[in-house]
Amino acid sequence: MRYAVLLPPQALARVHSVLGQHATIDVLMDVRALLVELVSPRDECLVLDPALITPAIAQSVAANATEFPRAIVAYSSVTTEALESSVILAQHTPARFVFRGTPNERAALEQALFLTPDSTLGTELMGLLESNLDRLPSGLRDRLTMMIRNGNGPNTPDAFAAAGAVARRSLDRNLAEAGFVSARRVIEGIRLTSAYRAITTSRTSFGHIAMMLGYRSQRTLDAQLVLMLGLTASKLRADPLSCAEAARRLTLRLTTRDGATIRKRAKPSKVGMDNGERTLQLVGGNGGKGGKTDVQPPQDNASGSK
């Protein structure tokens, strides 16, 4: 993976120390170099300090990100100059933001740099989920759209509800009405989208990727990948799915109940409750009530391919 970087020296040193040997880093000397970089449609991640660019340049970055989608990481201190540009980037690009000055800044930066979303996968997924997203209330739709686009967001249903400023029950109901299986599965799907590029195109160890995703071990990562995409991490790296195919499988998992699992785990009287998902060890409730009650057989062989 190539990283084009426009940062002050100290922040640049931090990025170097985080990426180490894992990537190619091209240092952009000034804003002019950034503008040249923007018009080259290469697969790369742009790492910049919003304080070094004006709001007008931030607009250019945003406009360009629409034309040539790319991962963006904004890494800066909390200052007026940085925030003026950051707001523009936050509104119009899939940028991830890391603020300097917290004790675990390095870990946050590491997560942002390594788990850069695959813009093609995000676009494909958005296309396939468009009708579902349209059925969500606007606030939640925007939030979920951003999560899919950025491959980043809350890690538990409770945090998802809090971030969307809705009650947990409302979140479950809204998602169910829009045809999603559950909040937890949506979160898992998005989490894996954020790791897709790292799994398929980098040499980062799977254990490290699992750790950055918040999984306890690589086994949990593999279990989730098998559930969502039908492949383990090593198989996916050896023979990556096309983005279109990955998006198709993910969409299926996000919107279709795993009937086999439900039949196996739930008592008949509780079939309607979405608590059939397994393997996750995260804090927070299960899928909640109000989901669709129709039990469908699995429509692909994803869960059984291991």
């Binding site: 100290q10 040193a13 170097h16 120390s17 180490g20 201190s77 909390v78 200052t79 007026t80 925030l83 950051s86 707001v87 936050a90 509104q91 940028a95 933001f97 603020f99 000055g101 917290t102 004790p103 675990n104 390095r106 870990a107 946050a108 590491e110 997560q111 925007d142 939030r143 759209t145 951003m146 999560m147 950025n150 809350p154 890690n155 538990t156 409770d158 945090a159 998802f160 509800a161 809090a162 971030a163 969307g164 254990g207 490290h208 699992a210 750790m211 950055m212 995703l213 918040g214 306890r216 071990s217 995260l282 804090v283 927070g284």
Partner: protein, 441 residues
């Protein structure tokens, strides 16, 4: 809760400077409460922010507190920034955490604790899990510094849970280190060692960059339990594993200097601090190392080194605590070199500064120093002409027949000898060549 902690501090403030420093933070938090409840309204909040902005000029620049408050007031207007990523809120929360850290570095742990508690609650309610985990981690530390063990334990456990949720295993593991620190602070060394061994195993598997922190914490436990040699060995071993992590590298060096001093090798400790002084990129870190080296010079080194360092520090922009420490260490050094008049003047200055800035522990130490100087003066008068003073001879620290001066008089173990030689060589090379440490370590 936040108001009570701040109000208590305001009520107890004895100087105008102290009062205004706390009052600025208190006002900023009131504005935060208002913005959080009603949103940012320039008509309502701009004047108040402007007032704070002008008050901040009264605080010394280049301090963490100054920078954190600046960040906070710069972030407030962006609170309501539209879009699904609530960048303004994240910025405000980050600035609040920085403010808490600045309070902590000034020793204001109680109000730092209340700031972290506030941020912890608000970030969790907002679904900002990562920031919530950070806030709880910092809260655990602040509560420990207030000896509120129960709150500290709860905060660390919550930090662990939230860190795991957010994919921040580094936070989770650091929370475990915090719990271990709680254990040994209360004298439970076996529990601390057990937690750290377990945490080290997990860090090795899943988060290698936290491993040095775990090892350093292990060294701290060893040192606290009297195994000085093992502490030195562990900390020195870390240096070769940290080629790219400046923050951690300097933390290890400073801790290593403390371990070496406890082991009885202040001259090697001074060399270690000298390395930090010559290579740390942050002026704040360099200054801190120099002050520590000055302390060692006052207690163990020759008068020439002591005077050179004193002059160097006199021109540095020091925080109130550092100014007081400088005066106190100067007094201690002058007493050791039998310059009682100068020592008395420095001790009085230390008492005055400590009272002015309400650094009561330092005030107590400065008063004790004043008494010690008076006693030493009387003793020296009695023995004058008979036994002479006990002033160390110039150059004795670098006596060629004694390679490493051990204050305990014990023989050095081979691995400590190796560490001492390496550090001394490193300091010497840096002093002559003026190269950066990143290439040396």
């Amino acid at each position: 809760m936040i108001n009570i902690a701040f109000l208590n501090q305001l009520a107890e403030a004895r100087s105008q400077m102290e009062f205004s420093r706390i009052a600025i933070g208190f006002t900023a938090l009131q504005i935060y409460d208002s913005i959080k409840t009603h949103g940012f309204d320039p008509f309502v909040h701009q004047d108040a922010l402007q007032r704070i902005r002008s008050d901040i000029h009264a605080i010394e620049t280049e301090t963490l507190l100054h920078d954190a408050l600046q960040s906070l007031i710069q972030a407030f207007p962006f609170w309501e920034s539209s879009g699904p990523i609530r960048i303004g809120r994240q910025a405000v929360y980050t600035a609040l955490l920085s403010y808490g850290q600045a309070l902590g570095s000034d020793g204001e742990w109680e109000i730092a604790n209340s700031v972290y508690s506030l941020v912890g609650m608000d970030t969790e309610l907002d679904g900002e899990t990562w920031l919530a985990a950070e806030a709880r981690l910092l809260m655990g530390h602040a509560a420990r510094m207030c000896a509120d063990w129960e709150t500290s334990g709860i905060a660390y456990r919550r930090a662990y849970e939230l860190g795991m949720e957010a994919g921040g295993i580094a936070i989770a593991l650091r929370a475990r280190i915090g719990e271990a620190n709680n254990c040994w602070s209360r004298g439970d060394f076996p529990a601390a060692k057990r937690i750290l061994a377990n945490t080290a195993r997990r860090a090795k598997q899943s988060c290698p960059h936290v491993l040095p922190r775990v090892v350093l914490a292990m060294a701290g436990v060893e040192n606290a339990s009297g195994s000085y040699e093992r502490a030195v060995h562990l900390a020195f071993g870390l240096l070769s594993q940290l080629p790219n992590d400046d923050d951690m590298k300097y933390k290890v060096l400073v801790d290593l200097a403390a371990f070496l001093t406890d082991y009885g090798l202040p001259s090697v400790a001074a060399d270690t601090l000298h390395i930090v002084e010559m290579t740390a990129p942050e002026a704040r870190v360099r200054r801190h190392a120099r002050l520590n080296r000055f302390f060692l010079a006052a207690h163990h080194d020759d008068e020439a080194t002591f005077m050179t360092l004193r002059l160097a520090l006199a021109s540095e922009p020091l925080t109130p605590r550092q100014q007081t420490q400088l005066a106190l260490f100067t007094a201690q050094g002058y007493r050791r070199f039998s310059r009682f008049d100068a020592g008395q003047a420095s001790a009085q200055r230390a008492v005055q500064l400590a009272n002015q800035f309400e650094l009561f522990q330092l005030a107590f130490e400065a008063e004790a120093e004043l008494e010690a100087i008076n006693s030493a003066r009387q003793e020296s008068t009695i023995v004058a002409g008979a036994a002479g003073t006990q002033t160390p001879k110039k150059g004795s620290a670098h006596d060629s027949s004694v390679r490493y001066r051990s204050t305990t008089g014990g023989k050095l173990s081979p691995r400590v000898q190796h560490a001492a030689e390496s550090l001394e060589t490193m300091a010497r090379e840096l002093a002559t060549a003026g190269i950066g440490m990143s290439t040396t370590l």
